[in-house]
C-alpha cells in the first residue's frame, strides 16, 4: 500500500487556496456592492468606486466558475 502524499498535498493546497481566494474576492465584491447601495440609499448619490470594485470582483468569480464548468464538462477538455 502506498499513499500518494504529493497528490494529497496538491489537493489540499489547491482546494484551500482556491476556496479562500474565491470567498475573499466574492466578499470584497459584496463590500463594494454594499458601499454602492449604501450611498444610493444614504444621499441618493452613487459610489463609482464601490460599483467598480463589485464589478471586478464578481467578474473574477465568474471566471473561476467558467473554469469550473470547463473542468466538469468533458467536451471542453
Amino acid at each position: 500500500m502506498s499513499i500518494d502524499w504529493t497528490a494529497l498535498g496538491q489537493v489540499t493546497a489547491v482546494s484551500i487556496g482556491v476556496t479562500v481566494a474565491v470567498v475573499v474576492v466574492f466578499a470584497l465584491g459584496i463590500l463594494g456592492l454594499a458601499r454602492f447601495e449604501g450611498a444610493r440609499e444614504g444621499n441618493g448619490g452613487t459610489s463609482a468606486v464601490g460599483l467598480a470594485q463589485a464589478g471586478l470582483c464578481f467578474l473574477a468569480c465568474e471566471a473561476v466558475v467558467a473554469h469550473g464548468i470547463c473542468l466538469i464538462v468533458p467536451q471542453f477538455h
Partner: protein, 384 residues
C-alpha cells in the same frame, strides 16, 4: 433479444433503483445549505439540482470502464453478484435516509459489491489494497480538507463583511450560493450517473447483448440520467434537514463558503484522479463553516452519528450484499427472485416507517433533528 435473461432485467431495474436512491440521498450535498439559508426555495432547489443532474449525465462521455474502479476483480464478477451488491447498496441508502444520516452512496455501492464478490468468488476477488487506497484514504482526507478550507473561508468572509450593510451581505452571499450549489449538482450528475451507466453497460456486455468495448446505448444514458434526476428532484428531505439544519445553523456567508469549498475539493480531486465521496466532502465543508463563524453552535452529537454512519456504511452494505449473493449463488433464478422480493419488501417497510414522521419541502427547515416518531403532544396510550 435472446441475451436479455431474467437476471439481466433484474440487474438493470436494481441498478436504476440504486441510481434513484443515489440522487435522492445526494440532493442534500448540493442544496441543503441553500435551502437552509433561504437562498433557494426548497422546491426550486431540488428542481435545479435534478435538471443539472440529468444534464450532467448526458454530458459525461467518460462512462465508467470498470464496475468498481478496481476494488474488486471485474473478471470474476457475474451479473448475479452485481445484483446482490446493488441490493445491499439500495437498502443501506434507504436505511440511512430513514434516520436522516448523510452517508456515501459510492461507499454503499462499493460495500455491496465487495460483500457480493467475497461470497460469490472468494476473498481473492477483492483487492483490499485498492480498498484502502481508493476508499479509506479519501474518506479520511477529503472531509478534513474541505472542512479546513470552509473554516478559513468562513472566518475571512465574516471578518471582511462585519461592518457592511447586513442586507446587502446576506443577499449577495445568497446569490453566490445559487451558483456554487449548481456547480456541485452538475459535477454530481457527471460523476454518479455514469457509475450506474457503467454497471448496466458492463452487465449487458457480460450477457452478450453488447459487443466488447461498446459504449452505453442511448436508452441506458437516458434512463440512468432520468433515474438520478428524478431521485434528486423528489429530494431526500430527511438528509437535507440534517445537513442544512442539524449539523449547525447555517447563514448565507457560511453556506457560500461551504459550497465553494465542496465544489473546489470535488473538482481538484477529480482532476487529479482521486475518487471521493461527495457526501463526505459536503458534510466536512458544513462542519468547517460552522466552526469558522464565531459563536456558531456545532452539534457534535449529530456529527458523531454521521461519522459513525460513514464507518458502518461499507461493512453494512457488504453484509447485505454478501447474504444476497449467497442466496443468488445457491438459489439460481428462484434465489434471485426471492432476494428481489425481500429487498422490495424491506424497502417498502422503510418507506412506510418514514411516513410516521414525514419530512418534506414544507417542513424541512422547521427542526434540526429527524425523528422516527412524530412528536405530538397528545399521545395515544397504546404501547407499541
Amino acid at each position: 433479444m435472446d441475451h436479455i435473461t431474467l437476471l439481466v432485467v433484474v440487474v438493470i431495474v436494481t441498478a436504476l433503483a440504486f441510481d434513484f436512491t443515489n440522487g435522492f440521498h445526494d440532493t442534500a450535498n448540493a442544496m441543503a445549505t441553500s435551502i437552509a439559508t433561504g437562498a433557494l426555495r426548497p422546491r426550486t432547489a431540488v428542481l435545479i439540482s435534478g435538471i443539472l443532474n440529468v444534464v450532467g449525465a448526458f454530458l459525461s462521455t467518460e462512462v465508467a470502464k470498470t464496475i468498481s474502479g478496481g476494488i474488486v476483480d471485474d473478471t470474476l464478477v457475474t451479473p448475479g453478484m452485481v445484483f446482490a451488491g446493488l441490493v445491499g447498496a439500495v437498502l443501506w441508502n434507504l436505511l440511512t435516509w430513514l434516520v436522516g444520516l448523510p452517508s456515501s452512496s459510492s461507499h454503499a455501492l462499493f460495500g455491496g459489491l465487495i460483500g457480493a464478490v467475497w461470497v460469490g468468488a472468494g476473498s481473492q476477488g477483492v483487492h483490499f489494497d485498492k480498498v484502502v487506497e481508493k476508499v479509506l484514504i479519501p474518506a479520511v482526507a477529503s472531509p478534513v480538507v474541505a472542512g479546513a478550507a470552509a473554516l478559513i473561508a468562513t472566518y475571512l468572509a465574516y471578518r471582511l463583511t462585519t461592518r457592511a450593510r447586513e442586507n446587502s451581505v446576506t443577499k449577495g452571499f445568497r446569490l453566490g450560493q445559487i451558483a456554487s450549489a449548481s456547480l456541485v449538482s452538475l459535477a454530481h450528475g457527471t460523476n454518479d450517473a455514469q457509475k450506474t451507466m457503467g454497471v448496466i453497460t458492463l452487465t449487458l456486455i457480460s450477457a452478450g447483448a453488447l459487443g466488447h468495448d461498446a459504449g452505453p446505448p442511448v436508452w441506458v444514458i437516458a434512463s440512468a440520467g432520468l433515474a438520478i434526476g428524478l431521485g434528486t428532484y423528489l429530494g431526500g428531505w430527511r438528509i437535507i434537514r440534517t445537513m442544512g439544519k442539524g449539523l449547525t445553523e447555517i447563514q448565507s456567508p457560511q453556506g457560500f463558503a461551504a459550497e465553494t469549498s465542496s465544489t473546489t475539493v470535488i473538482l481538484t480531486s477529480a482532476h487529479l484522479g482521486f475518487a471521493l465521496s461527495t457526501t463526505q466532502v459536503a458534510s466536512g465543508s458544513i462542519l468547517g463553516a460552522g466552526l469558522g463563524r464565531r459563536l456558531a453552535e456545532v452539534r457534535w452529537g449529530i456529527a458523531g452519528r454521521m461519522v459513525l454512519a460513514w464507518l458502518v456504511t461499507l461493512p453494512a452494505a457488504a453484509l447485505v450484499g454478501g447474504v444476497s449473493a449467497s442466496v443468488v449463488k445457491h438459489g439460481g433464478n428462484a434465489g434471485t427472485v426471492v432476494v428481489a422480493l425481500v429487498g422490495a419488501a424491506v424497502a417498502a417497510g422503510i418507506v412506510a416507517v418514514s411516513r410516521r414522521n414525514p419530512v418534506s419541502a414544507h417542513n424541512v427547515n422547521d427542526a434540526h433533528e429527524v425523528a422516527l416518531r412524530a412528536t405530538e403532544p397528545t399521545r395515544v396510550g397504546t404501547a407499541a
